[in-house]
Amino acid sequence: MAMCRRPTHCACFEGKSASRMTSVPGNSQDKNKIAIHTETLCRHYRMGETLIRAVDGISLQVRSGEFVALLGSSGSGKSSMLNLIAGLDRPTSGTVLVQERDLARLSRQELAKYRLHVVGMVFQSFNLIAGMTLAENVELPLRFAEVDRGKRENLVREALERVGLRARMNHRPSELSGGEQQRAALARALINRPQLLLADEPTGNLDSRTGTEIMDMVREFNQQLGMTVVMVTHERALAEQYARRMIFLADGKLVDDRINDRTHFKSLDLHTAFGLKGERP
């Protein structure tokens, strides 16, 4: 499938970020940039008398253009970690820096802008708005970004074309298969040309063939656009197939951080190249 092969105009972050969008992982200037940096990041919840340490002192760095999988069993804190990186949640303590923005210090308004322009998210349950057609769902972030209607229509058509759903743009989510819904969610996540794609169990509700199809797309975005991808999954096989780096969490702590040598990026030793933290396998 032809996907994001050419750099196109970014409606919202013109200039600087548009040029960033054209980068590929081989670009040495970009790969040296830290996309995500967390330092003793904590997110604790209190449920009655119990203190739940969803994220408990995680420090890590993710370079631009990396494809990272956050692995762990249920309740290990991987989704909480993703929410903190996405700016949906605020840390209890510690810092989370994304593209040099300290998310803990951003106002609610600034966080919303950050989510709109810097981050694209896909979820296990697709999270498309049921009452809207695919085109309307994909268009929604452009409305929030106050993009002109004429431009919007082209961008939506283009985005749905990329994920192979042009013909179904006027269908509602309930009329589509799971794979199609997730492709639409991907189109929506990418419509504002984010630098960071965050995927929370993107294949969790899909059969293996459709899951592979979606993951192929995600990998293509990562490779072609140099987009940094952080994917939460509990499927180790999936992570090994697509991610270049696997970070293991358990009880809110980082327990393992390794380069995946089973992907076709075997030649690239991220630990050596970027001096990443975490234990090598």
Binding site: L88, F144, E146
Partner: protein
């Protein structure tokens, strides 16, 4: 988010729960309809009363008398202005001067005299008054049996109902039902009355005036009073009394004004002013000055007083009437607004329900970049859209209710043999105001739900199933 996107999304969301939102909007419509119905009734009644009063000629008329007419000379007159003896005569020059004042429509002499009218050889003594052509629009002559004068100079009369009864010898006992003018018309219309009156004729000076007297303009004016007769045709019978403000000196027979002037009927003031006025100039006992608008009566009165005349109007009565209607409108508005207040609770309920239902949707919107402000504005827009829509439907509904009640009441009035009335008025400002009010109330109702939706934690909202 841009305003058109906001409106589009809000309308789309409203269409999603079409039944519930329609019912909420209907609630607003009923509230607005009740407000519009109540206020338009108040306004309609006020307009009806004002129309009646204006047509009665009471509230836009200033009666002007000379200060020399000591009957109207009160303390105020004693304090202000020249002494009666030195003050101006109410003559033709004064009339023209008053007519030139701003906001004055016309100033016509108040010609009235007591004289004898003969009908079928029976004498009847009564007060006769002259009417200007503008009196045609007076309520008293609206739809009377017969017609108003065919011209200013026509030898015609309109008789008041009580006088008509007298002519026909039908004076009813006090306790009996009133006779209707329509019943009196057939035997009287077109019949002749013979009026006997005293005409003032100027007599030339006899030449015996001394030089000193001539210099002082004292003598040389002489009248002879001649008894005359004029045949007049009865053209109309007035049910109401056009001159209720005059109390006991009310006239019961009316003549066209030019005709009355040409008759030179001897007036009581003629004798008093004989020593002051020029022989060929009539002196009026009083003038009736019609003002363009009842609200302009006071400045006109002040201007006439400055000219040195005494004035009288019943402006104060209109002031208290306006006050009464302002209070009535206020109370009707409050009662009408109660339904809108209930409807506003409906909006709060609907939007709070919508937040619960659309919790996940709000979470999704926030996850993909909607700010708190965007979410807040979206809920505001939904509340506002319901308000405007409800406002439009409500105004239409209120108008329809008004028309229906007006129609029903007129059927009732017709059965009671009364003329139809339009006592329901929906002015444009009420339409705009009611829609605007519904919009504002809806936005206020949306305050809490919109704030609540905006504050939703996206992580919690996305977990919600």
């Amino acid at each position: 988010m841009k305003i058109n996107d906001l409106t589009e999304l809000a309308l789309r969301n409203l269409r999603e729960s079409v039944l519930r939102n329609s019912l909420t909007t209907l609630g607003i419509s009923v509230g607005v309809a009740s407000l519009v119905a109540m206020l338009s009734l108040g306004i309609g009644l006020q307009q009806l009363a004002s129309r009646r009063l204006v047509k009665s000629g009471l509230f836009d008329t200033v009666v002007v008398t000379s200060r020399r007419d000591l009957r109207n000379f009160g303390r105020e007159e004693q304090r202000n202005g020249p002494a009666p003896g030195e003050s101006r005569i109410l003559d033709e020059a004064a009339r023209r001067e008053i007519e030139q004042l701003p906001n004055v429509l016309e100033a016509h002499p108040d010609i009235r005299f007591i004289t004898e009218l003969r009908y079928e050889d029976n004498p009847h003594l009564t007060m006769i008054a002259a009417l200007p052509p503008s009196a045609k629009s007076n309520d008293a002559f609206d739809g009377i049996p017969g017609a108003f004068f065919s011209s200013d100079t026509a030898p015609e009369v309109i008789v008041q109902k009580t006088f008509a009864e007298e002519l026909l010898g039908k004076t009813p006992p006090a306790a009996a039902d009133e006779t209707k003018a329509t019943d009196l018309a057939p035997p009287l219309l077109g019949k002749e009355l013979t009026m006997r009156y005293a005409q003032r004729e100027t007599t030339p000076a006899d030449g015996t005036v001394s030089a000193e007297d001539r210099q002082n303009n004292l003598a040389g004016n002489a009248y002879s009073v001649v008894s005359r007769e004029l045949k007049l045709k009865i053209v109309g019978i007035s049910d109401l009394d056009p001159e209720t403000m005059r109390g006991p000196t009310r006239a019961r027979v009316f003549l066209p004004i030019k005709l009355a002037e040409s008759l030179h009927v001897m007036q009581p003031t003629d004798l008093r002013e004989i020593s002051r006025s020029a022989a060929d100039q009539p002196v009026y006992s009083s003038l009736s000055v019609r003002v363009k608008n009842p609200t302009r009566v006071q400045p006109v009165e002040d201007a006439i007083k400055k000219l040195g005349f005494t004035t009288f109007s019943i402006l104060d009565a209109t002031r208290s009437l306006r006050q009464f209607f302002a209070v009535l409108d206020l109370f009707l508005g409050i009662f009408g607004s109660l339904a809108l207040a209930v409807a506003s609770i409906g909006i709060v309920n609907t939007l709070v329900m919508a937040i619960l239902e659309r919790r996940r949707e709000i979470g999704i919107m926030k996850a993909i970049g909607a700010s708190d402000g965007d979410v807040k504005k979206l809920f505001f827009a939904e509340a506002g859209a319901m308000g405007i829509l409800g406002g439009f439907v409500g105004v239409a509904l209120g108008w329809a209710i008004g028309q229906a009640i007006n129609f029903g009441t007129n059927i009732y009035l017709k059965r009671q043999d009364m003329p139809p009335e339009h006592f329901w008025a929906v002015p444009w400002w009420l339409v705009v105001g009611a829609i605007g009010f519904a919009f504002v109330v809806s936005l206020l109702s949306g305050l809490y739900p919109a704030g609540r939706a905006a504050r939703l934690d996206p992580v919690q909202a996305l977990r919600y199933e």
